[in-house]
Amino acid sequence: MGSVTSYFGPLCGEEQKIEEERHFRGNDRPFNLSYHYADNAITTSKYSVFTFLPLNLFEQFRRLANAYFLSLMLLQLIPQISSLSWFTTAVPLILVLSITAVKDASDDINRHRSDKQVNNRMVNVLIDGELRSDKWMNVQVGDIIKLENNQFVTADLMLLSSSEPLNLVYVETAELDGETNLKVKQALTVTGKMGDSIHALAAFKGEVRCEPPNNRLDKFRGTLSLDGQTYSLDNDKVLLRGCTVRNTDWCFGLVIFGGPDTKLMQNSGKTTFKRTSIDHLMNVLVLCIFGFLAFMCTVLAIGNGIWEVREGSVFTIFLPREQGVNAALSSFLSFWSYVIVLNTVVPISLYVSVEIIRLGNSFYIDWDRKMYYPKNDTPAQARTTTLNEELGQIKYIFSDKTGTLTQNIMTFNKCSINGKAYGELFDFSGQRVEITEKTERVDFSWNKLADPKFSFHDHSLGETVRGGNLEARAFFRLLALCHTVMPEEKKEGELHYQAQSPDEGALVTAARNFGFVFRSRTPESITAMEMGIKVVYELLAVLDFNNVRKRMSVIVRSPEGKLTLFCKGADTIIYERLHPSCNKLKEVTTIHLNEYAGDGLRTLVLAYKDLDEDYMNDWKRRHHEASTAMGDREERLEELYEEIEKDLMLLGATAVEDKLQDGVPQTIEQLAKADIKIWVLTGDKQETAENIGYSCNMLREEMKEIFVVAANTAEGVKEELQKARRTMCPEVAEEPTVIKARAGLFWLQKTERVEDEKVDGDYGLIINGHSLAFGLEKDLQLELLRTACMCQTVICCRVTPLQKAQVVQLVKKYKQAVTLAIGDGANDVSMIKAAHIGVGISGQEGMQAVLSSDFSFAQFRYLQRLLLVHGRWSYLRMCKFLGYFFYKNFTFTFVHFWYAFFCGFSAQTVYDEWFITLYNMVYTALPVLGMSLFDQDVNDRWSFQYPQLYAPGQLNLYFSKKAFVRCMMHSCYSSLILFFIPWAAMHDTVRDDGKDIADYQSFALLAQTCLLVVMNIQLCLDTYYWTAVNHFFVWGSLAAYFAITLTMYSNGMFLIFTSSFPFIGTARNSLNQPNVWLTIFLTSLLCILPVVAFRFILIQLRPTINDKVRHTVRKEALPAPAPRRPPARRISTRRSGYAFSHSQGFGDLVTSRRFLLKMPLRSRPVVFTQTDSALAQSQPQHYRTIAEEREEPQSPQAVAAAAAQ
């Protein structure tokens, strides 16, 4: 919308100088007004009442098609050329323009309404020394405004003061960048001093100089001059419009940018315009048609020249030439006349109809109950209405993992304590019971501090813990102590954990519910409630997690003075460090671990060790030395950790489920059957991604090999890729075959295509982010692409948002295939925008992904319905529509061409002008729309049953240049029949009463009736799905044709509009003639039967997949909806690793004093080191609290509030 405003500006004559620096003074309106900065009113609407007509028309005529028809209309106004009356073009054009205008107007009215609503919001403004409530639109640059908790930020503000300590303000930026976690802004101390003293604020006379308005969310530069001092301003001191103030009672701010100058507005409206491949094809075709039109007109013009010389010159006695016109000029004029007559090859209604069909299909998506998610009341949404048919051609899907495949919820599912497994339910016969939502939960009401959202189903564990089992207690004590989670307890008993990785949160929450509540921590102590008793542990050391260690430990001293080391980590790592006495337990635990791994759970092994006081003192001393050492500090610490973390005693293992969304494995299986390749691009670490790959069935045990590319050099990456490729396909050429071609308008666009290579067996590929960076370099990208495309499954982990987009672009560029990107977070935005189609998962993280997406829905599993049903139908419908539409218009036009040879190339039309006017808009519009809105070859159940039905779309089989040529040949044949049969039947005959019937008007009527009948029968042949509406449209259109024709040829019409309706009586006089009907019947037979025969033979000899399925459908009953199979337990030897989804622990932070009570906020910028720009963000996502299940719709505010507490 920013672009609109900027485009508007010059148009309204508001010549604005380019602002180089912004300069204003606080509380000084007259001074600030002299600069004419934009106030805070916004206009996203395009038109006002007065500008609507001219501007809208201007916009519309910028479209090529409309401009073409306008110029045609102008041509028709030249009498020498005009072969058709002006209304033949004007009526359809006006119709088209007004439909679009009405749509634009209603859109704009909505924008006006929302503008008005936003502009009229109230805010407290400091005017003349007192706070007044005023409308947003009246706020000016330099005003001081007061914001309260949960208010939207009115404009871009410089923060002056706030209610919180250190002049901090918390804001949620969900509307700006989609991040729901809170960000911290801090005012300058010098302004913060003013607090909420209105007097001081009113006296504030600071002068601000800063950068001009721009759209960079993460940068701000400026200075504040106050009392002779200059202070620098940066992004931390600025509140941006679109944010919401949270957890801050009040704050004051100085308006820097208002309305259209705000960063929010400067950022909006820059959506890239996506077009479908059919669109591109259509453009090329329309261009070809233009060429063809010119060719036909040239032929006819030459014909006219020859005719004029040979025949016309001797006919001048009856028809004198106009003054100054000779054969050559006449030929030139006839060229233009034929341009007008034959203009129907580029049908004006094509674009309108295409838009209507797409809109209809978008509505179907919005209306689909099977893509509606009742849990948070989210229906699917087609946010872009112009891409539907592309959904039927997807070849590659790029999916985010977290929040898309998974729910981004970690749950503590199972555990093994001292060799006993908990967490599974068995019925009386010893069969494993499927745990569903209805399964009874363990009651934690005895524990006042329990998290109500936590659920567990195995009662025996709770009993064991409460029964005083020592191992179980140690197990949960470990979970409550060994972590880097930070607690927040705003109200007594209301605990919130701030965990860096959701798994940790899940474990600590589990401990909390089983009675070992982690309550608070200081750098030296951890306070816990153990079965209701407050216990304070002295925290001696945190041996933090990292990628190499794959474990973390804490050393604590209990109140009794006992020293213990608690350690949790990846099984392989811990097992190496266990005391030999645990060997038996180790075996049992291993069995459990394998089971958990087979279920796709993330496992951790827990162990402890009691420490000796003396040893500990010694170790602590050495630790201190090491950590203060100047050289190789890391190595020395590492050694110390190794030394103390040994001879551990095994406690048990935990299994955390990274909950997949419902139906993800089935969806992936279905999509794979439809020959769609799915690549997972995730910011997660390799183990996590791999784990999910297994649990959602992308990676399978039966795969021949799974390659991991994790090299750190370009050479290494190349080697690994080549090795993988040679393993998969040893005989393939070293150099990729790149097919170069040209495409696009005027064949200007160069395309390169890498052929798909066949590989036996299934392989998987996992690429690490740093390797991917090398792989995306110019010289390696083809290698990467080849190898990746040979694999069944590709998982890229640790990728940055930018890399996500690059991968998508790579595939787009060299595969010339249609791509779809699906994601939910701000880090997926780049990928969603880069892909042909972006899908946003709504109702999870922020709104950013959804806002930049083309389609959105709440669950990944709806993707299969979107593609296999809606996409396929849309594609099928669009192709059928295009094929039929071109056929109908070409046939219509070619008849004129043939007639030219009989009428001296004089640009005489075959049909009545009114028929030409109404043919596309009235007589044939509805039937073809009916077909393209309702048609389905088989219904949705069968579409799911046979995902192979999707393949023709990927191969562009239904409509391509070839199909277009075929369509043209067909029309050529039909037009020959449609012209020459009536000609032969009529040219030498008379009515049954001897009167004329070979006259022009009767022939025109006959020809147009034949045409219309044939076109309708052809449509009937093309229609697979005859609803009542189709019947109504087809028969109704035919009936309307006869009714309208009889009306237009009636006495009354002639007597009122004599010159417009000269065909009086023609219908009555010819339609009662048997030979007219005999001719119509014959033409129809000759046009249609060959098509029927041809199609029948094709079905018999080479049935397409559609024919086969349709054949099956006829024979069999509707398939039952696929049963929701419980995921089979895989027998797996694979061990899932310690899957922390964070890179480095909080350890430093936890032991530092920085996060302490009065200043917990200082740490925030460290914890949430997220840059505002989605693209710049290259870190894995950070997580908030863990919710087992989101029963009720959770509003972003609620989430944010939870995060902030």
């Binding site: 509505f363 005489q908 005959t989 008379v990 009167k995 070979a998 005999l1078």
Partner: protein
């Protein structure tokens, strides 16, 4: 595209469960199967065969005679004379003798119809008159279908609008006013180029009587063409101040000296001419045999005839030909061999296609093997 509904509650945004919105409308989905296609082809082939045979038999019962008189007989002289534009106004009579070997038989449906035709009242168009003998003149290579030619007329004038009579449409240019500036009625190239040969047919010295009215469409005669009326004024008075088209020898209100109701814009010959032909070769109705008296009560008897032509219309300019056509009709129009032959050929083709389809189906499709893969 979010749906705004008045509903509230947890499922406020749930889409309606209607068959239309869920794309579950009940529908009929036909398919091209052997069970439908093959019988259909055979049936259509039979139907076409039947139609073809029937039409052919019907056409066999008709007779047609075409006489090209452009340069035939004594008309050669007139043809040469018409080459000379300066003698355009001079009358030229010529004669053409021919023989009808087989009588043009009239098939009577019932006697009453003849009586109706016997009168000069043109009530005939409402009646079925089959088997009459029709007299046409034909022109070849005359392009009545040129765009500018067809446009060169004023329907408003011909429907009797007074203002148009005196102020013809610009479409008529250059035939809208004469050199003196008087409006031309009827204006335009079409009317100007009216075919102005006239014929009398003689049989054994006796004039073959022709009905010269009732040859135009009822709608044309009664609605599309009206004379401008002005109280009790005669036609001549009404057309006072207008000029006839330049090629005309007599004014529009004197076209038919015999019948006052056949003059002005409602003259049958004018109306027939004004209905422009779709193709450059065409024939137009000149008259219908009047079967009131012997020997013509049963049509045209066999024998020698002579055709007297008042040869006015020049065709040599545009390399045209003129002809006279005598024909009888069938229930589906004039003698038309195309339709029966086309139906017969089509029927054969369809039959052939049906056989091929059957073979293909039998060999490949019947087992349904290809459908199983």
């Amino acid at each position: 595209m979010g749906k705004v509904k008045g509903r509230s509650g947890p499922l406020a945004q749930r889409p309606d469960n209607s068959a239309f919105k869920q794309q579950r409308l009940p529908a009929w989905s036909p398919m091209l199967t052997a069970n439908t296609v093959l019988p259909f082809f055979y049936l259509v082939a039979l139907l076409c065969m039947f139609l073809g045979v029937w039409l052919l038999l019907t056409v066999q019962g008709t007779q047609e005679l075409k006489l090209d008189y452009t340069e035939a007989g004594t008309c050669k002289g007139c043809f040469d004379m018409r080459k000379n534009a300066s003698k355009a106004a001079e009358p030229c009579e010529c004669r053409l003798d021919f023989e009808i070997k087989k009588a043009f038989k009239v098939i009577f449906l019932n006697e009453q119809q003849i009586l109706t035709f016997g009168s000069t009242q043109v009530a005939s168009s409402t009646q079925k008159k089959r088997g009459d003998v029709f007299f046409y003149y034909g022109l070849q290579n005359f392009h009545q279908n040129l765009r500018r030619y067809m446009d060169s007329r004023d329907d408003g004038q011909m429907v009797g609008r007074k203002n148009k009579l005196m102020n013809p449409s610009t479409y008529c240019i250059p035939f809208n006013t004469d050199q003196a500036g008087r409006p031309i009625a009827p204006c335009g190239a079409v009317a100007n180029s009216i075919f102005n040969d006239s014929f009398t047919l003689h049989y054994r010295g006796q004039v073959v009587p022709l009905l010269r009215t009732g040859i135009a469409w009822y709608t044309d005669k009664n609605i599309k063409y009206r004379n401008p009326s002005n109280g009790n004024m005669t036609l001549a008075q009404v057309f006072n101040g207008t000029a006839p088209p330049p090629y005309w020898h007599k004014p529009v209100y004197q076209l038919d000296p015999l019948s006052p109701n056949n003059n002005g814009f409602i003259n049958d010959d004018l109306i027939v001419w004004m209905r422009e032909a779709a193709f450059p070769n065409f024939k137009k109705l000149y008259g219908v045999l009047r079967r009131a008296a012997t020997p013509f009560t049963k049509g045209l008897p066999a024998g020698n005839y002579s055709l007297n032509v008042s040869y006015n219309f020049p065709v040599q300019y545009f390399r045209g030909r003129k002809e006279v056509v005598l024909t009888t009709l069938t229930w589906f129009g004039g003698q038309n061999h195309f339709l029966p032959v086309a139906y017969l050929v089509t029927s054969c083709l369809i039959l052939l296609a049906a056989v091929v389809l059957t073979v293909v189906w039998f060999k490949f499709g019947k087992t349904g093997r290809k459908m199983q893969d």
